[in-house]
Amino acid sequence: MNILLLLYWEFCKIGLFCVGGGYASLPWIQAAVVDDYHWITMTEFIDIFTISQMTPGPIGINAATFVGTKIAGTLGAIVATLGFVTPSLILCLLITYLMKKYGELSAIKGTLNGLRPAVVALICTAGLSFIWLSVWNTESVPTNFADFDIKGIIILVIAMIAVKKKVSVITLLFGSGVAGLVLGLLM
């Protein structure tokens, strides 16, 4: 089979089966690209994981791009990524259509009423783990609160003030990056 078609199809399957996002997709990706097809080695797979930890973008997209590039260059990257998002596109549009049609049912409304506070809670959890990461450079609750990163605190405080002053999100992210770089040079 044409390698591009195969890439598309394999990443279609990965996109369809990785439920739970993020790390939950790792075993699926590994099974297909490392174990079945030997497109990349285990070391490279761990590299993708490391890169994904520190670059923008979901790990699934990153893996699709990395594997695609390695197998068939830039075109491969595009094809693999397209394959990966195809199931999402179909399912999301389908559910949007169903919501439009049946969204007024009390059962659906009730379910969503239960989900909304859950999302608020999950956003708060993500916020908290990002505070740990920004100020204490650890992903879970810091073991030693006195061992904080002063640069992280400075940028976080400035960024909080900027948010309150209604600075645009993009300016804020970009500015914080530059602030990190400047502090890295100075301290």
């Binding site: 089966f17 739970g20 645009s168």
Partner: protein, 202 residues
């Protein structure tokens, strides 16, 4: 700036760009692309940033729809950020909206990884790259805190006990007991289905 002026300013800002126009699609693409390009972290990180932009800055979509879409995005297969951007795009501007948001979400990692694939070592061990990323991470943290607190405030303002209990329970489960968000969402969906069908919860 006085509070009144601020509000007027917000209103003008929100009315300025009408969904469906060519200018809207350009602004939508640009802001989604840049947020995707500058945000390190999973779906629960990028969605508050998108929410800040779409809801708070432009008023293209409301809090409620954003939260609904986030919950559905979490439960569907695939990457949460992509799922959310597909549905947010559709809600704001139909199929064209979806095309714009999905492209703007996927392109930045596609470009970044293609480049990094060639310069991995240089990238991974460079102190300045790490400091740049660290700074952006702190910026994202500030936005998530703001969005999170804002949503909690609105939740409490409604003075309904059950939704508050659901939020508190989910927060404790995911934070203290590391329960997979998928299971939290599933349990809360069932609670909602059984107990929150009264219109006052809508």
């Amino acid at each position: 700036m006085s509070n009144e002026n601020q509000q007027l300013d917000d209103a003008v800002n929100k009315l300025n760009i009408v969904p469906g126009t060519r200018h809207f699609f350009w602004v939508l693409f640009k802001s989604t692309f840049l947020i995707s390009a500058f945000t390190v972290g999973g779906g629960m990180v990028i969605i508050p940033l998108l929410k800040k932009k779409y809801v708070d800055e432009y008023g293209w979509i409301n809090d409620k729809d954003t939260l609904d879409i986030t919950a559905i995005a979490q439960s569907l297969p695939g990457v949460m950020a992509v799922n959310a951007s597909i549905m947010l795009g559709y809600k704001m501007a139909g199929f064209m909206g979806t095309l714009v948001t999905i492209l703007a979400t996927v392109l930045p990692p596609l470009i970044t990884i293609t480049i990094i694939a060639f310069f991995y070592d240089l990238f991974a061990h460079n102190y300045y790259v790490q400091m740049l990323l660290k700074g952006m991470q702190c910026g994202a943290t500030a936005v998530i805190i703001d969005v999170g607190l804002n949503l909690v405030y609105k939740l409490f303002k409604k003075k309904l006990l059950l939704p508050i209990l659901i939020a508190a329970g989910t927060f404790i489960a995911s934070l203290c007991f590391n329960v997979n968000p998928m299971y939290c969402v599933l349990v809360d969906a069932i609670i909602g289905l059984m107990l929150l069908r009264d219109p006052k919860y809508n």
